[in-house]
């Protein structure tokens, strides 16, 4: 059978199909809608014929009906608030906020209600809500349509924060989020929607809170997530040619945070770089670096280095965007600096 055909056996004996991340996300949503009548999608523009600005939900309203795949007005607070109300009433809503910057409008519902309802009710309420959103940075959208804001959410007890980097993980992690009984924010990235890869067919779930070592290496640990994993792998490939073996750890979820996998890798290599496209200052990488520093101070051969966006808005002009955002080249430089320390 040729690669890319449906039903191809993967290395682990699991049947896979070659999908883009966009298609893998759609498959996860379709699978959840088919498997559980309480699953409900709501958000702006997601019903057909539009099918969502990034076409992730294309076809779903046609298959499952507009009762369950709902277009909403441009009302971010009401989208997330209604999802909270539906979630505490026995449904599993998947709300979509088109672009991550728009989450600022819905933060009250997410931070004050979704995140805390279980706790404040003493366990009487559950909020099995998934909030999908996408980072649009890197395509010249400017300062209000380019932000990478997951650190805001990781800071809130009660939320889970999940960021896929591959089509297979996109399907598996999103399915796990939908069937999780706590509120999950699922952060997609416009730069990854077109990336392709083998995706297990059928009900595929990747447990939340388990990082993956996506490239083994003995010299330097490079911790990343989401879009940055792609740059990390490119950097590792380039550095391998220089004789530096980089171990790339994909966090996959920030909350729950898999400190065990990160620390095990860091203890082996004793040199660590943590990278993300979000602003470096007070970003999630600072938490990762601090945990490594606290646990492995005596083991490390070099200070943990962080790579992230500069502390400036993302300009619209390509030159401004490039000046602020990290790249494979900045990861290479950071790894070299700790490898030689």
């Amino acid at each position: 059978m040729s690669a890319g055909a449906t039903g191809v056996e993967g290395a682990g004996g699991v049947a896979t199909e070659d999908l883009s991340m966009r298609e893998a996300l759609g498959a996860a949503l379709a699978g959840a809608l088919a498997a559980d009548p309480t699953v409900l999608l709501l958000g702006e523009d997601l019903a057909d014929p539009g099918g969502g600005i990034s076409q992730v939900t294309k076809g779903l309203s046609t298959t499952f009906g507009t009762d369950r795949v709902r277009d909403t007005p441009i009302s971010e607070a009401a989208i997330v608030g209604a999802a909270v109300g539906a979630a505490v009433s026995g449904l599993r809503p998947v709300a979509e906020l088109m672009i991550m910057d728009f989450i600022s409008i819905a933060l009250d519902q997410l931070v004050n209600h979704a995140a805390k309802a279980r706790y404040m009710s003493g366990g009487l309420l559950s909020v099995p809500l998934t909030l999908r959103t996408a980072v649009f940075g890197g395509i010249g959208s400017g300062a209000t349509h380019s932000q990478t804001l997951e650190a805001w959410l990781a800071h809130i007890p009660g939320l889970k924060v999940v960021v896929p980097s591959t089509p297979a993980d996109a399907k598996g992690l999103l399915t796990s989020c939908i069937f999780d009984d706590d509120p999950c924010v699922f952060v997609e990235n416009v730069a990854l929607y077109g990336t392709r890869g083998p995706v297990p067919t059928g009900d595929h779930r990747v447990p939340l809170g388990r990082a993956a070592v996506v490239r083994p290496g003995r010299d330097v640990t490079l911790v990343a997530y989401g879009r940055t994993v792609r740059d990390a792998l490119a950097a590792a490939e380039q550095l391998a040619a220089e004789g530096i073996e980089v171990e790339v750890v994909d966090l996959r979820s920030l909350v729950p945070f898999d400190a065990e996998t990160v620390l095990a890798s860091a203890a082996r290599t004793r040199r660590v770089v943590v990278a993300h496209h979000a602003t470096r200052f007070a970003g999630f990488g600072a938490e990762v670096a601090a945990v490594i520093g606290e646990e492995l101070f005596g083991t490390l051969e070099a200070p943990v280095r962080r790579v992230g966006a500069a502390f400036a808005p993302i300009g619209s002009a390509a030159v401004l965007e490039v000046a602020v955002m990290p790249s494979a080249a900045s990861l290479v430089a950071a790894v070299r600096s700790v490898a030689g320390a």
Binding site: D108, S121, G122
Partner: protein, 327 residues
């Protein structure tokens, strides 16, 4: 919708007496230093709650606010555990984690109470969406104050509910002040209900200190929602007699306005109405009042004897899996 029966009217008086007794007991305990807790008094708004309790079924769903004691008790939340929650005891209805601001009791249909002004409306819309999709005839009520109508959440929620014709009643307890600011400083329309036509839904203003009128108006709104007639914006005019928070000196309320509001307070007014109508005489009303005070006193005695939560409870209910809380 017909006027409430004599039995229902006596029931509503009993609800009002119970709310008043509980509110007074909390304020007495706070004033005397017997206990400390946060509290946003509901005295003056008992008639709206009584109508709410009379009209809604147990399986109807309520989302209310931090000033919610009256609504919660009227909807059927159990007095003892609610009092224990106000006093943040482990035996509280929410294990002492919610406090007076965040009471939740799903078995009685009190879904939750929000501490952020306006935020309960979108949540109630989601509750109503679930009720609609589940194919039930149950109804959701969002209870909120006039101050909430200044939020974007109010507009987004009413708009969405109207668009989807959801079984929800937007119950505005118009108590004339948004925290410390008169309603007229925050809204360019005379009445909250004036906004209803812009969403294409019915709006009505009713005397919220009159349980009978409120019961009739709310009953009509709930009946409409139950049969697929969509949302209603019902404004119940009332007055918040003890200010925004316990201890509020209310310097911002003109003395004559406060005096007039006190003369119009709903419990005494309804007692007089029921006596004049021959439904409940003074002696019987006094017995209802005393029974309410006794029940409340017993609830406080029990709650005050209860322990606060264990410190370890700080780390449970963060996630379903307690192991996922990061210490």
């Amino acid at each position: 919708m017909t006027a409430p029966s004599d039995d229902r009217r006596r029931g509503m008086y009993g609800t009002m007496a119970r709310i008043r007794a509980c509110d007074e007991r909390i304020r007495r305990g706070l004033s005397g230093g017997e206990f400390a807790c946060t509290y946003w008094p509901a005295t003056g708004q008992e008639a709206i709650a009584a109508a709410l309790g009379a009209v809604l079924r147990t399986d109807d769903q309520l989302v209310t606010t931090y000033r919610g004691l009256h609504d919660q008790l009227a909807k059927g939340a159990p007095l003892g555990p609610v009092v224990a929650e106000v006093l943040t005891r482990a035996s509280g209805v929410n294990a002492g984690k919610g406090g007076s601001m965040h009471i939740s009791h799903p078995p009685s249909g009190v879904v939750l109470s929000t501490g952020i002004v306006g935020s309960g409306l979108p949540i109630a819309v989601g509750v109503a969406l679930a009720l609609q999709l589940q194919g039930t005839d149950r109804v959701a009520v969002a209870s909120f104050g006039d101050g909430a109508t200044g939020t974007g959440s109010f507009h987004e929620a009413v708009n969405l509910a109207a668009l989807w014709r959801l079984p929800v009643v937007f119950l505005c307890q118009d108590n004339r002040y948004a925290e410390m600011t008169p309603a007229a400083h925050g809204q360019p329309v005379a009445h909250v209900a004036d906004r209803a036509p812009s969403y294409g839904i019915p709006g009505e203003v009713v005397d919220g200190n009159d349980p009978d009128a409120t019961c009739t108006a709310l009953g009509a709104a709930v009946a409409r929602a139950r049969v697929g007639g969509g949302p209603t914006l019902l404004e119940c005019t009332t007055f918040r007699l003890w200010g925004h928070y316990f201890g509020d000196a209310m310097r911002y309320i003109p003395a004559e306005e406060l005096e007039a509001a006190r003369r119009d307070e709903p419990v005494g007014r309804y007692r007089a109405t029921l006596a004049a109508d021959g439904v409940l005489d003074a002696e019987a009303a006094a017995a209802v009042d005393q029974a309410a005070r006794d029940e409340v006193e017993a609830a406080f005695a029990a709650a005050l004897a209860d322990d606060p939560p264990d410190a370890g409870a700080a780390f449970t209910d963060v996630y379903l899996d307690a192991g996922e809380a990061v210490r």
